[in-house]
Every structure is written in structure tokens, then in C-alpha cells.
């Protein structure tokens, strides 16, 4: 592009952004009439600039800060050549360094020849920073224990020493590759190979555990694929480093404790007193990865993975050739609660035998049953739920799924504390009323119940659902409320993976906070399947369908909800809303009339009727129901009321309201940008509509699912700025 034109663009753009919003459109029009491409360029830059602010803020927050933190975490190690030179000169008499093997993470790995015996060995170097902090004596003592391990599936430790400040240990060189590089090359492995490798790993673990050694860092990088079998390396190294660092009290300064991607929940949570079951969890992860071709939480950063291990269920394994019993076994190894995992590596080996035998022996392969279940969308939800289901309902019949024996037995759940039960009953009463006062009271009662009995799943589930509802209606910051709701729902599901309400609650978080429509659908499907008498999963699924722009299914869902709860006001009202979006205003009115006949003062019915009036009728008719809503301060209601005034002759009032909300935002208060955008839409202030909606996406606004359907935005739907907002909000 020619520099003069570039300068001209800069000049016109500057003039456009500095002019008042009303004048801006005319200004660009004028440019366009003289020079259409130039006008288009300015227009497109202007529309980009609305979103650019937010975008750069987001990049700074999500990328710059975290990137710096990660660069800092990588540490200031020695330059590679420097380290190698030091190592070579220090080991000169004993080893000849041949080449560097691909080191994982912080440690570096070299292939060398041990001169005296003329054999190939692998030398692993601990990061310099770590070597400075650990007590070598303690390290050597700790490693002695694992150096005693002798087993055909274990790579032994040969020697350890410090040379010129470099702490290293050696092990035999295994010709072949690591499991990591095989998975990287091939993705998912053939079933027979995965089973064979897993068996070898489990065999090694069973032996090591019986010798009192926990590996603590099982991962594909530590599994070597020899010509005939698989071998596990680095037994006890993690423990030795930790212990040696403890002795000199530098644990917090950067000593490796494990690998986030393969850390058991209790390890990730930093619990003390972890046992061999962390290896069982990690072995389950490695098998999962061999079967799926990717780790269950692949694609997350180190910290997010840690959190995922604690809070998230892995996606189900969906291979057609995988026997159901084997899939269930792998997922049981991944149980969050160590007591719910198979108790020993040996017991897993036995179950593998049985699972494979059953898969091969029965006339009907197990996977056909599995596939049928998956088709019913049942399997798609929590994999642990399935494990639970089976162990609860079929335990006596299904040998392989019986809870482990001995002291690792899953304790039978005690009946809830009676006081806690009473509190939950109280809370449920308040939760039904659906306004912000009662939902706060309900939260109070539910929290008291969980305090009294922390294992009371129903209390956690109720708490989760109510928190999610409060986030929609309450005065607090929705981000905080939804995070609390999500965590309560996860707790409930850990305690009882068959609890319908907990899935509903989690689905609400997906729907109202994460804009994860398919995740929401999955949870609501599970919720209604687990308890087909509940209307709520259908009520919220209706919203998810609206997000997916499937209005017909939204109406269907509401009709189903109405069958389940014919007199529940919210059901009738949302049926009316869905019918309105479908274009059937008359049917919507009829549904509302039915509610108002029963209860002439029903507030939510009047609100919905007001919306119909604003959306479809001339200004004076719209005023019919306004007295029901005009004193309501909820941003959603104010949004519609001010939209009405903006388009019905009182723009000044609407503008003042919008300005006051904007002022609250600059004072740092939480502001609902979606409903603010409706006011700007009423005022015809498109620049602020775009800006507010863009911010609504950034704040994960709960009502984004309405964007395509809300009458305020109808005239903007085809505009590129709105298309961009919809793309960012995952709206079709």
C-alpha cells in the first residue's frame, strides 16, 4: 500500500473515532460516496476497533502475564553446551558422552559409554538448581531402595554421583523408544499392544509396591518399549529428590514433584500421606492415553491440568473394539477417591485377564451393548457415574466390578444427619420461590446442611443448583457464584454420581456461564434420565436449544416440562417465551392467560406479557403491563423497560439510565452488559450495542443464549460486528 494512502487512512480513522457516535456514520458515508474502497476500509477498521480494546485486554491478561510466569518457571538453567562441557570434563575418566537424548521437562538425558565395562548407559542430569538445593547424601540413601529393585519390567538405577556440581544417575540403555514417542507417532495403539504394555507396567508396579517403593512419576516418558516387552524407568527418583530437598529445607523453591499431566487428584491437591494408589491413577492415565491417543485433559496448561485432575471427569473412551469391562476398569483407576480405585496393581492384572476373556468369549461382544448405551447419550456424561451405577446396581452379579476387598473397601454411605436433612427440606422450600431474597436464604440453609454433614450429596446438589439460580437473579458477582455452583456440583457428583440435581446444576453452569451448549445438553440429558420426574432439566434444555438456534426443540422441551409440572408458573412462562420466539404470539398469550387466571398477581407472567407487548405492539399498548415491572431493579427487567422508553418517546430517561450503568462500570462494579446492550439498541446507538455485547462475551454473560432471539437485536443480526460477537460466544 502506498504511504500517502496509509497516512490518509490514519487521518480519516482518527477523525472518525474522535467524532460523536451519531456523526460517525454520516462521516463514513461521505467518505464512501467519494471513494468507496476507502470508506469500506474505514468502516471495517472502526468495527474492529470496538472489539480490539477488549481483545488486547484479554491478551494481556490471558497471555502476557501467564507467558511471563511460565518463562520464569522454566528457570535460568545453564546454557546447554556449558552443561555438557562440564559433564564431559567431570566424567572424563569413567564415561564417554556420546550424544544427548531428548530430555523431558527440566532434566537432561545423555547416552554414554561406561568405559570400564564398555557398555552403553543413560545418564540423567538433575537440573542445576535442584542439585544445589538437595542433600546428595540423602538422595543417595533414598535411591538405594529403588536400586535394589530387580525385575524384568523395571529399568534399574546403576549409579549416582555428583560431578563438578552436577547431580546425575545412570541406568542401562534400552534400545527402542519410549511409549511417549510411539503415541506421538501413532496416536491410539492397537488394543492388543496397549493391553500388553499395560500388563508389563502393572507387573512392574505390583513388584515395586510389594517392595515398598512407589514410583510417583508414572508417565509415557518413563515407559521404554524394548524389543520384547515394556520397561518402567525412574522408580523412586521423585521421592529421592523430594526427600533430599526436604532435608535442606528448600522444597518450595522449585523441586520437581511430579508431572501435572499424570498427577493423581490427591497429589495435585498437595495432600500429604499419599500412597501407592497415585501410581494406580497414573497407570490408568497411561492406559487411557494408549487407548484414546491423547491424555484425558490434553490441551490444558500445567495448572489447568492440575485443577482438572481434582475436579473434572475424563471424557469417556469410545473405541468400538474396547471391551466394556476393560473401559470400566481403566476409568475406575481414574477415580478421584483413592479408595474407589482398584486396590493393587495385582488386582488390576486379574481384572484385565477377566475383562479380555469376557470380551473375547461371549457371543455378543460387550461393546455392542456399550454402543447402544452411548447412542442413548447416557454414556456421554460422567464416566465415573457409570462405574458407580454398575457397582451400585449390579455389584453382586458383576464380579469384576465389585468394590475392592480388604481395608480399601468403599465405605457404605451413612444415612444423612437428621438435622442436615431438616435443613435441606427448609432450603428446598425457599429455593422453589425463585427470587433473590429466598435464594439467599436457601443457600444459607444448604450450607448449614453441608457443614453438618459434608457427605450429604443432596445438600451439595441443592446448594449447587441454588447458587446457579442466585447467580442469575442475585446481586452478587455471577463469576463468583457460578464458580461456587460448579464446585458444589462436582462435590455432589463425587459423593453420588447418580444425583440428578447435581447434573442439572452443572449443566446450568455450562449453559449460563461457560457458553458450552453441548456440555449443558449432556448434563441435562443425564439429569432427566436419572430422574424423569424433574421438569428443570427440560426447562434449561430449552435454553440450550435456543442457543443452538433450534427453536422447535426448545418449544418441545417446554411442552414436556409442562407435562411434568403443569401448574409450575416458570414452566408456563418459559413455554410462552419459547412460543414467542417461534412466532406464535397468540399461543404464548394463551399460556400466560392460563397462569394469570390461577394467580392474577403472578409477577413473572406479567413480566413476560410486558415483553410480548414491547416486542410486538405499538407504544401505548405496551404500557399495559408496565406497572408490574417499572419498579424492578434487576438489570434484565430494567433493560426491557428502558428499551421501551427509548423507543417510545422517552429516550432521555433511557440514556440517563445507560450512562449511570456505564458510570457504575467505571467505578468497578459488576455490570450486566447484555441487558445494557438492549437499552443502547433501543436508543439506536449501534457503536455502544457492539461494545456492550463484546463485553458481555468477555464477562461470560448468562443471557448470551438469547442473543439471536431477543427482539432488541433483531435489526443487527446480519451485521459483521454481531456475527463476530456470536462467533466468540459459540452461537451458531
Amino acid at each position: 500500500m502506498k504511504p500517502e494512502r496509509q497516512a490518509r487512512i490514519a487521518e480519516l480513522f482518527d477523525e472518525a473515532v474522535s467524532s460523536a457516535p451519531e456523526a460517525r456514520d454520516r462521516f463514513v458515508e461521505r467518505i464512501s460516496s467519494d471513494d468507496p474502497p476507502l470508506g469500506e476500509e474505514i468502516r471495517s477498521l472502526l468495527s474492529a476497533s470496538y472489539a480490539a480494546d477488549e481483545y488486547f485486554e484479554r491478551v494481556a491478561e490471558e497471555a502476557i502475564g501467564p507467558a511471563l510466569a511460565e518463562i520464569a518457571a522454566a528457570g535460568d538453567d545453564l546454557a546447554p553446551d556449558e552443561l555438557r562441557a562440564r559433564l564431559e570434563s567431570a566424567l572424563d575418566a569413567t564415561y564417554r558422552i556420546e550424544r544427548e537424548l531428548g530430555g523431558g521437562g527440566m532434566s537432561r538425558v545423555f547416552l554414554a559409554t561406561e568405559l570400564r565395562l564398555q557398555r552403553k548407559v543413560v545418564i540423567k542430569i538433575l537440573p542445576e538448581e535442584m542439585a544445589l538445593g538437595v542433600s546428595f547424601e540423602r538422595f543417595r540413601r533414598e535411591i538405594q531402595l529403588s536400586a535394589r529393585l530387580q525385575h524384568s519390567h523395571i529399568v534399574p538405577v546403576l549409579a549416582t554421583d555428583v560431578a563438578d556440581g552436577v547431580l546425575y544417575y545412570t541406568m542401562p540403555y534400552v534400545a527402542g523408544e519410549t511409549l511417549r514417542s510411539r503415541i506421538a507417532r501413532e496416536g491410539a495403539l492397537p488394543l492388543a499392544d496397549a493391553i500388553a504394555i499395560w500388563r508389563d507396567m502393572l507387573d512392574a508396579l505390583a513388584y515395586a509396591h510389594s517392595s515398598g517403593v512407589i514410583h510417583r512419576d508414572i508417565k509415557p516418558e518413563n515407559v521404554f518399549l524394548g524389543s520384547r516387552n515394556a520397561l518402567v524407568a525412574d522408580f523412586g527418583i521423585a521421592r529421592a529428590i523430594e526427600a533430599a530437598a526436604d532435608e535442606v529445607n528448600v522444597t518450595a523453591t522449585g523441586v520437581t514433584l511430579g508431572t501435572p499431566a499424570y498427577m493423581a487428584p490427591e497429589q495435585a491437591a498437595g495432600e500429604s500421606g499419599v500412597d501407592h494408589r497415585i501410581d494406580i491413577y497414573a497407570a490408568g492415565l497411561v492406559m487411557y492415553e494408549m487407548l484414546a491417543g491423547r491424555a484425558p485433559f490434553a490441551g490444558l496448561g500445567a495448572r489447568q491440568v492440575l485443577v482438572a485432575h481434582i475436579t473434572q471427569q475424563p471424557p469417556p473412551l469410545t473405541r468400538a473394539d474396547l471391551p466394556a469391562a476393560l473401559s470400566a476398569l481403566v476409568l475406575r483407576c481414574l477415580a478421584k477417591d483413592p479408595a474407589a480405585r482398584p486396590p493393587t496393581a495385582d488386582s488390576i492384572l486379574h481384572e484385565v485377564d477377566r475383562a479380555v476373556a469376557v470380551g473375547a468369549g461371549s457371543g455378543i461382544p460387550n461393546w455392542t451393548i456399550l454402543a447402544a448405551t452411548a447412542a442413548a447419550a447416557f454414556f456421554l456424561v460422567s464416566t465415573v457415574a457409570i462405574g458407580h451405577f454398575m457397582s451400585r446396581q449390579n455389584a453382586p452379579a458383576a464380579e469384576g466390578l465389585r468394590p475392592p476387598e480388604g481395608r480399601h473397601d468403599v465405605p457404605a454411605r451413612a444415612p444423612p444427619d437428621t438435622a442436615a436433612k431438616r435443613l435441606v427440606a427448609e432450603a428446598q422450600e425457599f429455593a422453589r420461590q425463585r427470587d433473590n431474597k429466598s435464594c439467599e436464604t436457601a443457600i444459607k440453609f444448604y450450607s448449614q446442611a453441608t457443614d453438618k454433614d459434608p457427605n450429604y450429596a443432596e445438600a451439595w446438589g441443592g446448594l449447587a443448583k441454588t447458587r446457579a439460580l442466585c447467580a442469575l437473579w442475585g446481586p452478587g458477582d455471577p463469576n463468583v457464584e457460578f464458580a461456587a455452583a460448579k464446585s458444589a456440583s462436582e462435590t455432589a457428583l463425587r459423593l453420588d454420581a447418580t444425583l440428578s440435581g447435581a447434573y442439572t446444576a452443572r449443566g446450568m453452569v455450562h449453559l449460563f456461564h461457560e457458553q458450552d451448549w453441548s456440555g449443558a445438553q449432556r448434563d441435562f440429558t443425564m439429569a432427566s434420565r436419572l430422574d424423569s420426574t424433574q421438569f428443570e432439566p427440560w426447562l434449561f434444555r430449552n435454553h440450550a436449544y435456543l442457543a443452538e438456534n433450534n427453536v422447535d426443540s426448545a418449544v418441545e422441551s417446554m411442552r414436556h416440562a409442562k407435562e411434568l409440572a403443569p401448574v409450575e408458573p416458570i414452566v408456563g412462562v418459559r413455554l410462552a417465551t419459547a412460543l414467542r420466539y417461534q412466532g406464535h404470539t397468540d399461543q404464548a398469550q394463551a399460556a400466560l392467560a392460563e397462569i394469570l387466571e390461577r394467580d392474577p398477581n403472578n409477577l413473572i407472567a406479567h413480566r413476560e406479557r410486558f415483553e410480548i407487548e414491547v416486542a410486538t405492539m405499538p407504544c401505548d399498548s405496551a404500557a399495559r403491563d408496565i406497572r408490574w415491572v417499572e419498579h424492578d431493579d434487576h438489570p434484565q427487567i430494567r433493560g426491557i423497560v428502558e428499551f421501551h422508553w427509548a423507543s417510545c418517546g422517552n429516550a432521555g430517561r433511557a440514556r440517563r439510565y445507560a450512562d449511570s450503568v456505564a458510570a457504575q462500570a467505571s467505578a468497578g462494579s459488576y455490570v450486566d452488559y447484555f441487558w445494557l446492550a438492549t437499552v443502547y439498541a433501543g436508543l439506536g446507538d449501534s457503536a455502544n450495542v457492539f461494545r456492550s455485547l463484546s463485553k458481555a462475551v468477555t464477562q461470560h454473560n448468562s443471557f448470551l443464549f438469547l442473543l439471536r432471539h431477543h427482539f432488541a437485536f433483531r435489526k443487527y443480526l446480519g451485521v459483521p460486528e454481531i456475527r463476530e460477537v456470536m462467533r466468540r460466544a459459540h452461537l451458531k
Binding site: 500500500m1 496509509q6 490514519a10 480513522f13 482518527d14 473515532v17 471495517s44 477498521l45 472502526l46 474492529a48 476497533s49 472489539a51 480490539a52 480494546d53 481483545y55 488486547f56 491478551v59 494481556a60 490471558e62 497471555a63 502476557i64 502475564g65 501467564p66 507467558a67 511471563l68 510466569a69 511460565e70 518463562i71 520464569a72 518457571a73 522454566a74 535460568d76 523431558g104 521437562g105 527440566m106 511417549r180 506421538a184 516418558e221 522444597t251 518450595a252 523453591t253 522449585g254 520437581t256 514433584l257 511430579g258 508431572t259 501435572p260 499431566a261 495435585a268 498437595g270 491423547r294 490434553a298 490441551g299 490444558l300 496448561g301 500445567a302 495448572r303 492440575l306 485443577v307 463476530e724
Partner: protein, 203 residues
């Protein structure tokens, strides 16, 4: 870098900045790799958690590098401005190169290790997700294109966004007026955003 290396670097950089002030423009080019290396090393040695305003952290780094690498008793305002511009550019390249490399590593393949201190922070600190790495890498690419079209605008982005310099410091560093900084900053952001949307993220 060990302590023994610090003094020569400070001497060298101060000397080169002075040479540039006296008309030797090639001297500035020699400063860049030195500043890049030192800044990178400083970033890698930060042990505190990066809470709060992310650009404040990059600003802190740039100023730390300034104190460490420049003998401020010997240089004047011009050299300080030169240094800030160079350090901003280095900051940009450190971050964008890092994001590009992270983005290229295939997901799940690369293992990272964490320490106990980090685990404590795990629930509080935002992670550098693959998505964020992609985003920053894409911004880096778009910025390279902008650099070809309008070098000054790309420098404004380096100073304002990557080094978190104030409008006034940016104006001094680039020898332009504060009003121009503001204008360039506004237009460059819109241009970059559009460029990224149009060309998408790198795979």
C-alpha cells in the same frame, strides 16, 4: 549469566548507546541482541508469582534491565529513549517467540514439570493455555505484517503493549508526539485485531 559477566555487559551497552548518540547508528543494532539476552535471562530468573496487572510486570522487567545494563550517570535522555525502544522490541520478541514455540509443540506431547510452590498457586494463577499461546503467536505474526506496512505503528505497539510504557515514555522512545502515540496505538490495535480475525490463528 553469572555475576562476572555483568560489568562488561553494562560497559558495552552504555558504550554502544553513547556511540549511537554521537551518530554511529550501527551501534544500536549491536545493542539489541545483548538487551534481548539480558532481558530474557532476567525474565527467567523472576521467582515471584506474576499477580496483578500483566503489563506492569513487563514494565518492571524493562526498568530492571535498564538499571542493570545502563550506567545512567554517563548517558542522557536520548540514550535512555533508545534503550527503552530497544528493550520494548526485545520484550515483544521474547514473548512472541515463546508463544510461537509453545504453540508449535503439539498438545499433550510436551510435559511440563512444576514445583511445590507452583502447586500452591495452581488454583489462583491463570495458566498459559495452548489457546493463549496461539493467540499471542498470532498477534506476533500480525505484528510482523504491520511492521512492514507501518514500522512506527508496530513500535508503538511494542512500547505500549509489550513493555507497558506510558504514552510519554513511548513518545520519548520513538521521538514522536504523545498525540501521535495515542493515534497510532488506536489504529494499530484495530488493524491488528482485524488482521488476526481475517487470517485466523496459526495452527
Amino acid at each position: 549469566m553469572s555475576l562476572a559477566n555483568e560489568r562488561p555487559t553494562k560497559e558495552t551497552i552504555t558504550g554502544l548507546l553513547l556511540a549511537a548518540e554521537h551518530g554511529d547508528h550501527a551501534a544500536l543494532e549491536a545493542v539489541f541482541p545483548l538487551v534481548y539476552r539480558e532481558l530474557h535471562s532476567l525474565a527467567r530468573r523472576q521467582r515471584q508469582a506474576w499477580h496483578g496487572n500483566p503489563t506492569l510486570n513487563t514494565t518492571a522487567l524493562v526498568h530492571e534491565a535498564y538499571l542493570k545494563l545502563v550506567d545512567k550517570d554517563r548517558i542522557g535522555a536520548t540514550s535512555r529513549a533508545h534503550f527503552l525502544a530497544i528493550a520494548s522490541k526485545a520484550m515483544r520478541h521474547i514473548l512472541c517467540n515463546y508463544a510461537r514455540d509453545r504453540s508449535r509443540k503439539k498438545r499433550g506431547g510436551e510435559v511440563q514439570q512444576v514445583s511445590l510452590g507452583e502447586i500452591d498457586d495452581a488454583l489462583k494463577q491463570p495458566a498459559f493455555s495452548d489457546e493463549a499461546a496461539d493467540t499471542l503467536a498470532a498477534l506476533g505474526q500480525a505484528l510482523e505484517r504491520l511492521e512492514q506496512i507501518d514500522k512506527r505503528q508496530s513500535q508503538v505497539v511494542e512500547c505500549r503493549f509489550f513493555a507497558g510504557l506510558t504514552v510519554e515514555d513511548t513518545a520519548a522512545a520513538l521521538n514522536i508526539s504523545p498525540a501521535t502515540v495515542k493515534r497510532d496505538w488506536m489504529l494499530a490495535r484495530a488493524w491488528l485485531y482485524r488482521e488476526i480475525q481475517v487470517h485466523g490463528y496459526i495452527a
